[in-house]
Symmetry: D2
Subunit: 396 residues, 4 copies
Amino acid sequence: MSLANGRRYLAIPGPSVMPDRVLNAMHQAAPNIYEGNLLDVTASLWPDLKAIAGTQHNAAIYIGNGHAAWEAANTNVFRRDDTAIVLTTGRFGHGWAEHARQLGVRVVITDFGKSAPIDMARAEQALRAEPNARAVLITHVDTASSAKNDVLALRRLMDDLGHPGLLMVDCIASFACDEFHMDDWGVDVMVAASQKGLMTPPGLGLVFFSDKARDVSKSADMRTPYWDWLPRVDANHFYMHFYGTAPTHHLLGLRAAVSMIMDEGIEAVWNRHARLARAVWSAGEAWGQEGAFALNMKDPAHRGHSVTAMRLSGQDGTRLRQWCEHEAGVTLGVGLGMAEPDSPEAGAFFRLAHMGHVNAHMTLGALAVMDTAMKALNIPHGSGALDAAARSLAGN
Amino acid sequence: MSLANGRRYLAIPGPSVMPDRVLNAMHQAAPNIYEGNLLDVTASLWPDLKAIAGTQHNAAIYIGNGHAAWEAANTNVFRRDDTAIVLTTGRFGHGWAEHARQLGVRVVITDFGKSAPIDMARAEQALRAEPNARAVLITHVDTASSAKNDVLALRRLMDDLGHPGLLMVDCIASFACDEFHMDDWGVDVMVAASQKGLMTPPGLGLVFFSDKARDVSKSADMRTPYWDWLPRVDANHFYMHFYGTAPTHHLLGLRAAVSMIMDEGIEAVWNRHARLARAVWSAGEAWGQEGAFALNMKDPAHRGHSVTAMRLSGQDGTRLRQWCEHEAGVTLGVGLGMAEPDSPEAGAFFRLAHMGHVNAHMTLGALAVMDTAMKALNIPHGSGALDAAARSLAGN
Amino acid sequence: MSLANGRRYLAIPGPSVMPDRVLNAMHQAAPNIYEGNLLDVTASLWPDLKAIAGTQHNAAIYIGNGHAAWEAANTNVFRRDDTAIVLTTGRFGHGWAEHARQLGVRVVITDFGKSAPIDMARAEQALRAEPNARAVLITHVDTASSAKNDVLALRRLMDDLGHPGLLMVDCIASFACDEFHMDDWGVDVMVAASQKGLMTPPGLGLVFFSDKARDVSKSADMRTPYWDWLPRVDANHFYMHFYGTAPTHHLLGLRAAVSMIMDEGIEAVWNRHARLARAVWSAGEAWGQEGAFALNMKDPAHRGHSVTAMRLSGQDGTRLRQWCEHEAGVTLGVGLGMAEPDSPEAGAFFRLAHMGHVNAHMTLGALAVMDTAMKALNIPHGSGALDAAARSLAGN
Amino acid sequence: MSLANGRRYLAIPGPSVMPDRVLNAMHQAAPNIYEGNLLDVTASLWPDLKAIAGTQHNAAIYIGNGHAAWEAANTNVFRRDDTAIVLTTGRFGHGWAEHARQLGVRVVITDFGKSAPIDMARAEQALRAEPNARAVLITHVDTASSAKNDVLALRRLMDDLGHPGLLMVDCIASFACDEFHMDDWGVDVMVAASQKGLMTPPGLGLVFFSDKARDVSKSADMRTPYWDWLPRVDANHFYMHFYGTAPTHHLLGLRAAVSMIMDEGIEAVWNRHARLARAVWSAGEAWGQEGAFALNMKDPAHRGHSVTAMRLSGQDGTRLRQWCEHEAGVTLGVGLGMAEPDSPEAGAFFRLAHMGHVNAHMTLGALAVMDTAMKALNIPHGSGALDAAARSLAGN
């Protein structure tokens, strides 16, 4: 007998829950790719995506995943032997850095650990040490650590120092979840993907770029026909937007998802994520009063709003995840990169996503399931977590 | 800004949440109705439906709703001026009785109120008073009051009294949710519908009947070609099962739903409903420690496992429902027939369903949303409800 | 190896091909049945359905099939021992008559055979012979014979004779396919169903009725709570439209289908069916120049526009159907009632539907497949059929 | 009034018609990407895809389109300043060549025109002229010209000459449509995509490669992390197959499509395409007896089986396409690259696809619609085309 049989909730940090409206929009006969509705749908996406990103400049959609968006960004920006400053606050900064390194870029990493944001003093040292770096790469929110960085502060620091590099930001985990203003924050390149805040199945990578980045790309020497962003944003023919056949069904799905965001309003979407995140943190802080439970990020100001990394001890994270999935219908995310795979603590970490198509019922239900799991498994934990979460959402 | 945007949970007592597997099974091109897969699918349904009902006798599927199933049952059983004993424990017994009365049956009601089960002493009086009644009509679980009756006890009473009437049971709210054994409990006619425990959109009414009921029906004088159950169970041609065109897509959907039940096992399905119901009651009992909150049924032994009727006071039930729907994505059921529509208490009642495709996440989430609502709306309530529900499901 | 693997075309006269838009509309989470979108959708259906029927009077939707619509019509109109005049032109008139007879109505049939429309001289005799008949029942288009009757001519005949009976018309096979004007043609009761011209899965029966029929129904003595049409059209509460739970997903599907019809325009829909039917007839007349092939209805003026009954000889109809299905992906309809099941000619008959969601490609493709089948099976047939169909649709 | 309203047939050479089974498989909640069903589904794809390709070696799936598959192939094979021999027989050979050139490869093209296959004598000259070329690139079937090349003959020629280059074949238009045996024909690299014979929405590019190509790739100097095929085929972790998040829904859809192919049998699939193609050609040859109609490829042995390029004169190709789409529900493909865009003949060309999920009904219907269009538009054409197609499929 399992209490999991019912509508399951995949609460991993991507792919997120796909709205019925998105899945229905994708359940269509193949459209004509030479004229008609698909072209109109695609044309309508650019302004809306830019509005969500807070930019008036350039947006390209790649058939690909988030890593594809990294590759698009890197190949359009760098020349071989260029220097990249990478400020890492979890796992994915290292991934993006490694990508650049494999391309032949000289990568200089400053690592802020797995549970802290960028420290601006150390960032200043990094910037001063590499005044000619082509670009500075950061994650807005790291999917693994759930660390969120202050993008605007870094921009101001770069401006104060007169650093000429491009500011490149990975918003894969935060796009359409956490507040973000690309132009106002002086971001040059921003990458995102379809399967998180955009609530569309994996298969699209997005790259937004400033006119400065666009100019820089003209002298980059690693562009390939597939990744080159210039023909994609200056497409004379529809197929040039995608260098070949368009991702027909994904575009239809993305249109539905973006319309849901526009209907709700991006500010309201950010606010919803913020309030749900705070409810999660309230529960987490209560659980942490007793036993090993801890939120990975100590400072709420540096926690992302779409995913929360957590830990127990020993194998309790794994036991918790398995109970939630098999006994209650909630799939939590595995801990990623927080401990070495063969370390005794590897099974301690896990994550709860609250990104995209997520509401109070889903999040409170996930917290209640976690609380039940800890009781069922006799994992010591502070009491009153659900009450705290409810109070948080009730606003009193 | 609303915290409701996400996957909404319709927690009304029917239609229940339709599994993706059911909706996908219905998303098919129209099938041939003369040969092939549809005929095989339909043939495979009878034994499975009978197994779920606990009968080896007769099963008919009508294109219709639950009220259609009432009409099928009544027209096949009664002759004009026959007497029906109806024992009511909420609202739907009155509905079925009224149906029979409109057909010309002499209906004798014993009403056990809106928050109590059948009292066997009074039932005995009713049976003794009408020794020649053609049938005794009861609801297994009343969807409005959530009262559950002891069917076997009534059967034994009828047997003890030598009452010759047919025992007819409305299982619309309980089928595939609460334990039920048609043959072992001596039930002659049982009616159900697709949209509750069977997790299929409204549109099918089911009628199961014993061989005794089958014999009685031959002398009934209100059978019509559509309702007559004999050609449906003795169909020489496929179309006779449905007196005309088969409900193609509903049969495909029902097949998926029934397979889910068979895969899980009906005992496990009942057990899942029982455990989720107990979690709901645990929360309810905690809330009831302070303020006006109350579960409608006092005795757990007489609470149905698929729906729980509850109350607050004044308009607080309505306020709670609206908050849950608009702020958190959970739609609770309205109170039905618990107070006169224009009474000051009409807005006090509401219901939480936990029927069919429902798991720990969905139910705990709904309880947490309700708790949050009471906090947000400053409705006095006992504390610790969510903790109690979690402990209940954790089994400790 | 089969040339059938691809998108199959079910060309039987109901269920017809379901548009993607309809299936998508039905692929939805269960809606609230107490308030919101479903109620709005349902309210919007009545005026559109009446517009398609050409009436300003009453429309009821039953969860049921076409036979259910018969039962709704008969039980609302007749008293036991009333007389019904039935004019049959194929099979389904007999079915409706038999239904009335089983209810206790005195049925007087005039049978015009299986390949002729109503002859008005004989109809006059029938009307004069039963001047007090409560109603006259006919089919607009018989699904089995494809005979179409001149409804207006019959109405005028009744008026000329001063016959007081209600004119009741079965439009199940013709609704939203063949031109029809309920009010202008003086029709009192019209029945239809969802799965043919309305392009929605089987599961809904429709009954339209005049105010005169409404008045008559008040004295009918076979109304049951489920069939009674008065509460359905005068519903104080939403559930009264359907005597219980609404057919949620079918209503959503029907809304999509009706919107498609309204978008195209009912005149354009009729015209499309007329032109496709003429293309079928052109092919049929060419095939009939040699061998046994024949269209069942000789006079184009009396052929329905949604289905064409045809014949070959011996078992060739069955051989043709099987080849089309297994070798080419087209399922033709079986012949229905054109010969006794055990007659040597029982396998000679078959039908091609061209109803609802049907266009030139589908119909021409079906004709081309039939032509190929006759060649592959060495069934003698006239040449040039496809050329004739193409010329017919080309309009030259 | 339009005869197009009904189920439309998109008969362009990709995206092809998506089977309901594929679209249903994609209409799923997001799956877990760390364990469970998705991983099993993906693991099951490799052997089946290899079986369809006729190889026992390596297969990689990229999130991308056909052009992405080109880029994957080129970047894994070439070093800058390598020489590529490209033998073009239409448009797409030029596209692949241009791709290589943009990467920095020295490309030597031998162009066989727009309506002829590779001539082996000229191919021999090309091979002899570049004995050190790293690779020879050809299309199996060119989507624009519908020319099909004899891959095995070219392989034998290379072997006879002792040419050491890799044989790289673009099977985007032919995969799972035209007979192909990768290993037996000595092909080193083969590229395909999801949206044609594989009947899955655009979004996946496939690259198959021999062990020889695998060895060569180790010294290629343009591999990027995204395109590098080695980690994809030697993946230690599931995400490495896709360098990041897997294309969840596309994999589910592809699984359904591949199962359909395996169920039918690849030989039967090829045979079905062959027979449908011959029916198209039969019609085309009849049309060509009068007026300007012509099939682009004269020799049936060199016509692809999945698409047929055709021409009329002046703007008649465009007029024909528009009539078919707007009046009859069939969308034909535009002519691609057969004339300069501003030439007077640019509107003469068009294409009929018959790829993937296609049967006799669909193809015969498309031919009948084209025939009707020519009649309606008074475009001179030979008679008897439909009869010829029917005879062709009837096998007599």
